[in-house]
């Protein structure tokens, strides 16, 4: 019997290997390999003498290289790129969609996704001429869900990349005060909240901080789950107590970084990093370039590890949408397919799993992080991470939640009172909207609209 199992296991392993090799050869070419990408794309419609101009709106850097690569492959297509400021990008897109003047393609970040889940104007990528569902198995389900409409009837964007929330720390400072410096060791140390508080207290006594704002625990906990569940019920519960407890401790212990020397024009984050007082900071994997740029003198001292309290947080994502009113949907979809097979930028974990695997296997060392293979870490963390669905109410609730926490912190309210009040407040504010949204979704599910 054992012999039989052994033979079967061998056969299955061989099949997996063969399949994996084949997949890697065809679907996982090295990032930037134009040849491999070109051979993998479906044929475009016959070329015409007139040049196709695809308008693309983004808010992030790093698109030029990809566009050039694509245009080399498709000389008849010109990608007209517009880069909006991050804080204006969402509003511009919404205005353009309302006026039906939106570009053919738009890149939506994780923070804006909720605003697009319950509006019209974006093409359903599961419908022809798009074929998004053919890639469904190659995208992590949780990430796939982030681009589904609120009523689950449409796929309004295709995920290109995701970013786990990670802990950036100064190994040199931790080592100075006897705390673990190895990433995994430190992560395991910080799984215990008291250790993390102890470390905060110890470092704070010496002018170093591991939290850049008082509600950092809230921030960490919130990165692991959405504000609302599928029925728009407020998800804040047990972990909110922990977060409030830790935040209150930080506040009571005076463990917050002091910003008395902050220059008005300079963002607090940048100030703290530049001042060298930040021993630990929690940001998305895609932000490591920004951290490096802000603290170039500390190269080689930084390390990256997972979040404290054994949390797997989701920091951000990039998804691309096609305007419902685009005249070049076929070309737009071709461009999306081109982009899904490329890594957008360092630290961005590709949504398309074959490429993600490729990045992980590449295992390149990063000197800024002391030769640490951060990309591999990011992929690993991304694989463990569970992205969550965003709702139209998230933006509105997030602000109320932050204000409520600040208010309770100022009042120094006990956790039970604070959380109860906050939840009650949020429910009051959102109950009507929630009912409306749920009713609408029920109506739509009943009428099964074909377009929205």
């Amino acid at each position: 019997m054992k012999k039989l199992y052994g033979v079967c296991s061998l056969l299955v392993s061989c099949m997996i290997m063969i399949t994996g090799c084949t997949g890697m050869q065809s679907a996982s070419p090295p990032a930037g390999s134009e040849h491999a990408v070109e051979s993998d794309l479906p044929p475009l419609p016959p070329q015409t003498n007139e040049k196709i101009k695809l308008r693309l709106w983004v808010s992030e850097e790093g698109w030029d290289e990809h566009i050039e690569a694509y245009e080399r492959l498709h000389p008849q297509i010109e990608i007209v790129l517009t880069r909006n400021r991050t804080e204006e990008h969402k509003e511009k897109m919404l205005d353009a969609l309302a006026n039906r003047r939106a570009p053919d393609l738009m890149v939506i970040s994780k923070d804006d996704l909720g605003e697009f889940t319950a509006i019209s104007g974006l093409a359903d990528l599961r419908q022809s001429p798009f074929q998004a569902e053919t890639y469904m198995k190659d995208v992590p389900p949780a990430l796939w869900q982030t681009t589904q409409s609120f009523d689950k009837q449409r796929m309004f964007a295709f995920p290109l990349a995701t970013s786990p929330l990670v802990t950036y720390y100064r190994a040199d400072i931790l080592a100075q005060f006897g705390f673990p410096t190895e990433p995994e060791e430190l992560a395991r140390y910080m799984e215990i909240t008291d250790n993390w508080l102890k470390m905060a207290k110890t470092l704070a006594e010496h002018g170093y901080y591991i939290n850049d704002r008082p509600d950092t625990p809230f921030f960490l906990y919130q990165s692991t789950t959405g504000v609302f569940d599928d029925q728009l019920r407020f998800t804040g519960g047990g972990h909110f107590f922990s977060a409030y407890y830790l935040s209150r401790k930080l506040k009571q212990g005076g463990l917050d970084p002091k910003l008395h020397e902050q220059v008005e024009e300079e963002p607090p984050e940048e100030y703290l990093l530049r001042s060298g007082s930040m021993a630990m900071i929690y940001r998305g994997a895609n932000e490591y370039e920004r951290i490096r740029n802000m603290t170039p003198k500390t190269a080689g001292k930084w390390r990256v590890t997972r979040l404290p309290f054994d949390l797997n947080g989701w920091a951000g994502s990039s998804s691309i949408s096609v305007s419902q009113y685009s005249s070049y949907k076929v070309y737009a979809w071709d461009f999306i397919q081109f982009m899904m097979k490329r890594q957008l930028a360092p630290g961005q974990v590709p949504a398309y799993l074959p490429v993600r695997k490729e990045v992980e296997l590449a295992g390149s060392s990063n000197l800024f992080f002391g030769g640490q293979q951060v990309e591999t870490l990011f992929v690993r963390l991304a694989n463990q991470m569970k992205e969550f669905a965003l709702t139209p109410l998230d933006t509105k609730v997030q602000k109320s939640l932050n204000d409520g926490i600040k208010h309770m912190m100022m009042k120094n309210a006990d956790a039970a009172t604070a959380i109860t009040d906050i939840i009650s407040q949020i429910r009051r504010e959102t109950e009507y909207d929630r009912q409306i949204l749920l009713d609408e979704r029920r109506l739509l599910e009943g009428s099964k609209p074909t377009m929205r």
């Binding site: 309302a98 019209s120 009713d439 609408e440 609209p449």
Partner: protein, 889 residues
């Protein structure tokens, strides 16, 4: 002509069919709206009319055309199919049993259309309907069909009434007044019923529209205000169909839509649905609400939308799917508010009300019609009895049948019955009178026929001999002469019996008549076998035979046979006599074709034959014998004329110098029946020569004396009357005797009689003349010398004669004022006469100048046309009466 008429009739029939078919299809396709899809169609009227007039042969092509048009315009619906079957069936059934279309239509609806439609409604569109919706369409369709049949029946009845050929149902070509009355009453009830229902329906529809408009306008006003408040992200959310903003708007729409009477939708700038109270509509379809139906703008921004009619079997079901739409754009916002008010919501209530009214009205109509039918039945029953009683009334009355005039409680019928009864009685009386009159008339008619036959006999046949008379002969000869052909001849044989006068004079008139009868038989016996021959008696012993011949020998043969027949002895009252006959023959056209002329020539030939000794025949020819015959004929004529009283006396006044009538002269005239007046100079000389002057003179004298005595007896002033006496008469030995006898017979005083005699009367035997004159003078008769101056009078003798006056000859008087010679003679005569104490009379005065001259010569009496032409006795009587009146005056 017959073919032409048939062709024209066929063309008119085809044209009528075509017009009716067009009207039928037009009415079926385009209906008169009633309310919410209920409609009135006149298709039934034309369909049943076609079925009634043309039968199934006319109906078949009509429905074929109808179905073809229907399939071209859309599709053939259940209604169209059923309608086709209905008309075809009824067009087949109509000729049987003389049942009206309306009855067949009702029957068809009860057994076929009604159940089928009810089944269709229960299975199809109206499955969720209220009960009213189940029967309202059927009710309306049935009303349309049955009403159409009813109107068609009325038209067909009126058509027959107008004298057109009967339709399939009216084979007998007659219409009872009961049918007409019932149909007209039905029309009078159903017509207003339909009209009232239509007006009522339209009014209700208008009311519903107003209510819908008011409600929609009011409620959409709130929504418009809500949308005006939307700005910034909220407005953008709406444009982006944000579920949140859209849901909020939908919630507001729901709260604004009281009682959920409407479907409210807000659309965006691209006709996209922003929000709607309806969830089961596809949003894009809802936005373009105009699609898939017909839109009618009722007021600005207010419409009525109905789905395409071809999708529905019943139009009312189509209306159930329709709605009113109120559309309002939001100022300064890219939104439009559309409020749909389903007609169904109103239709249910309105249809319920309308159906109730409809049923009530139908029951009322049926009650009215039932009552009308009952009344008409009563009236018609009485009228039918009356008609039955008065059928063949004249025959019944003539056969003296007893008629039972039943009384009626209805005043008018009672009056009508009485009138008929009285009329019948009167007619019966008249019949009785008529029968008597008829009998009398028959008798008179019979008598009249007999009289007619007798008159005919008298007019055309001689009563004595039975032969055709002169009139019949003249007509026959005239006819034969006119028909005479080129190679034909006509012989006219004139017969005169020889010695007839002697027989008549010696044996008497009766024997003469027997002789004539026997002679007639023998003449008749000669010619019976000769076609076209005719024997006639002209009068006296004159007979004539008309004989168609080809040769003269044929006439000769007949003449010989006639002579032979009459030559043999004739037994008259046991006495044997021999007469014989002379025959003169003239031939037409040889001797002419004039009837008078040819007869005269036959007559002349007869005289010529007679002059040859009698018992011979002679053809007419020009010669001395004919001249002699003419004189002889004239003498004969004169004699006959005296018998036939053809002679007349005319009187010419003789006046004195003052123009007063002092005497008159009697002058003879001969009025021949064929030749007219014959002047005395034509026949007097012959009369003197033949001696006829004696009887003629006697007749003149007697007639003049009689007339003169009559005038005197009548009271006219007596005056002398002159009568001319011929020499032969004067010297006749019986003259004086004759004069005395006449004077005695007439009773005339001889002193008033003047005898005029020509001056030569004394030449032959002066002594005898003197003796006669003396005798006359002794009787008191005056003597006047006539035509004095033309003869050779012996003055010596004149002096001795007791004459009374001299009458100067007209040859001297003529132009005496101009002719000196005549004047001298006249003057001399007058002087001489005066010297002898004789009265002078000038005759022939014609001019005023002659009168003046004679007056100057002192002529005593004057006579001539200047004063008066000779006038008849009747005219003279009038003249004398007038003269007497003038004198009295």
């Amino acid at each position: 002509m017959v073919i032409h008429n048939d062709r024209s009739r066929l063309m008119v029939s085809a044209l009528g069919w075509a017009i009716l078919t067009i009207l039928f299809i037009g009415s079926a396709e385009w209906k008169v709206p009633f309310i919410f899809g209920a409609s009135l169609t006149l298709a039934g009227v034309f369909g049943y009319t076609i079925a009634g007039i043309y039968g199934w042969r006319g109906m078949l092509p009509t429905v074929a055309v109808f179905l073809a048009v229907d399939s071209i315009m859309g599709e053939i619906t259940l209604l169209d199919a059923m309608r086709t079957i209905e008309y075809l069936c009824i067009s087949f059934l109509l000729p049987f049993r003389n049942i009206h279309s309306v009855v067949w239509a009702l029957f068809f609806w009860l057994i076929a259309s009604g159940p089928l439609y009810a089944y269709t409604l229960s299975q199809g569109e109206a499955v969720t309907s209220l009960p009213h919706h189940a029967y309202m369409p059927i009710l309306m369709l049935a009303s349309n069909g049955i009403t159409g049949a009813l109107i068609a029946d009325i038209l067909l009845t009126l058509r027959v009434w107008a004298g057109k050929k009967g339709a399939a149902i009216h084979r007998n070509k007659t219409v009872s007044i009961g049918s007409i009355l019932f149909l007209l009453i039905t029309l009078a009830v159903v017509g207003p019923f339909l009209f009232v229902m239509m007006i009522d329906g339209l009014s209700m529809e208008r009311d519903v529209e107003n209510r819908a408009y008011q409600m929609a306008a009011s409620q959409t006003g709130h929504i418009v205000e809500y949308l005006k408040k939307q700005e910034g992200k909220e407005m953008r959310g709406l444009l982006l169909h944000s579920m949140l903003e859209q849901g909020k708007l939908r919630e507001f729409l729901k709260t604004s839509n009281f009682e959920e009477l409407m479907e409210i939708t807000v659309t965006g700038p691209y006709d996209d649905v922003i929000a709607s109270t309806v969830t089961h509509y596809p949003h894009d379809a809802y936005a373009s609400w105009r699609k898939g139906g017909n839109v009618t703008e009722i007021e600005e921004g207010f419409y009525r939308w109905l789905p395409d009619n071809r999708r529905y079997t019943f139009d009312m079901m189509r209306w159930r799917e329709g709605f009113f739409v109120y559309e309002q754009k939001v100022r300064d916002r890219p939104f439009t508010v559309i409020a749909k008010v389903p007609i169904q919501r109103y239709q249910e209530q309105i249809s319920k009300d309308f159906a109730n009214r409809f049923l009530f009205m139908i029951l009322f109509c049926l009650l009215s019609l039932g009552l009308s039918a009952l009344i008409i039945r009563i009236i018609m029953k009485y009228l039918s009895k009356l008609a039955e009683l008065t059928t063949n009334l004249p025959d019944k009355l003539a056969n003296h049948e007893t008629l039972e005039w039943k009384p009626s409680p209805v005043k008018e019928f009672m009056s009508l019955s009485q009138n008929f009864r009285m009329m019948a009685e009167r007619v019966a009386e008249m019949f009785a009178k008529l029968e008597g009159t008829n009998q009398e008339l028959n008798e008179k008619t019979q008598m009249l026929q007999q009289s007619e036959e007798r008159l005919n006999q008298l007019a055309f046949y001689d009563t004595l001999t039975g032969l055709p008379n002169r009139h019949a002969f003249t007509s026959h000869l005239q006819e034969k002469l006119a028909e005479l052909k080129r190679d034909e001849k006509l012989a006219i044989m004139f017969l005169d019996l020889d010695r007839f006068k002697q027989v008549n004079d010696t044996l008497g008139h009766e024997s003469g008549d027997l002789l004539l009868q026997e002679a007639s038989k023998r003449i008749q016996a000669v010619i019976p076998d000769i076609p076209g021959a005719m024997a006639a008696r002209l009068g006296g012993d004159e007979f004539v035979i008309v004989l168609p011949i080809r040769k003269e020998t044929e006439a000769s043969a007949v003449a010989t046979r006639v002579i032979s027949a009459l030559t043999s002895s004739i037994m008259l009252d046991r006495q044997e006599v021999y007469v014989g006959t002379s025959i003169g023959i003239s031939l037409a056209p040889d001797n002419g074709c004039d009837l008078t002329d040819i007869l005269k020539k036959a007559d002349m030939a007869m005289y010529a034959a007679k002059s040859m000794g009698g018992a011979v025949y002679r053809f007419y020819s020009e010669g001395p014998a004919e001249h002699a015959a003419e004189s002889m004929m004239l003498e004969t004529y004169m004699r006959k004329a005296l018998e036939r009283e053809e002679f007349l006396l005319y009187y010419q006044p003789i006046v004195d110098q003052d123009g007063c009538m002092k005497a008159m002269e009697a002058l003879i005239r001969w009025k021949h029946p064929e030749k007219g007046f014959i002047t005395p100079d034509k026949f007097i000389p012959l009369a003197e020569k033949t001696g006829f002057v004696l009887p003629l003179g006697e007749w003149i004298l007697r007639t003049a004396c009689l007339q003169h005595k009559k005038w005197q007896d009548e009271g006219h002033p007596p005056m002398p009357v002159s009568v001319n006496i011929s020499m032969r008469q004067f010297y006749d030995s019986n003259f004086l005797e004759m004069v005395r006898r006449i004077l005695k017979e007439t009773g005339l005083d001889p002193s008033w009689l003047v005898m005029e005699i020509t001056e030569g009367f004394t030449a032959n035997d002066p002594d005898q003349a003197l003796a006669i004159v003396a005798a006359l003078n002794a009787m008191g008769i005056k003597l006047s010398i006539d035509d004095f101056g033309t003869g050779y009078s012996s003055l010596n003798r004149l002096k001795k004669l007791p004459i009374h006056s001299l009458k100067i000859d007209r040859s001297f008087v003529s132009e005496v004022d101009k002719d000196h010679s005549n004047a001298s003679i006249v003057q001399a005569i007058i002087h001489m006469a005066h010297a002898l104490e004789l009265l002078t009379v000038a005759e022939g005065i014609e001019t005023q100048e002659e009168l003046q001259f004679l007056r100057a010569l002192n002529c005593d009496r004057m006579q001539g046309y200047l004063f008066s032409k000779p006038i008849s006795a009747e005219e003279m009587t009038e003249f004398l009466a007038r003269t007497r009146e003038d004198r009295r005056g």
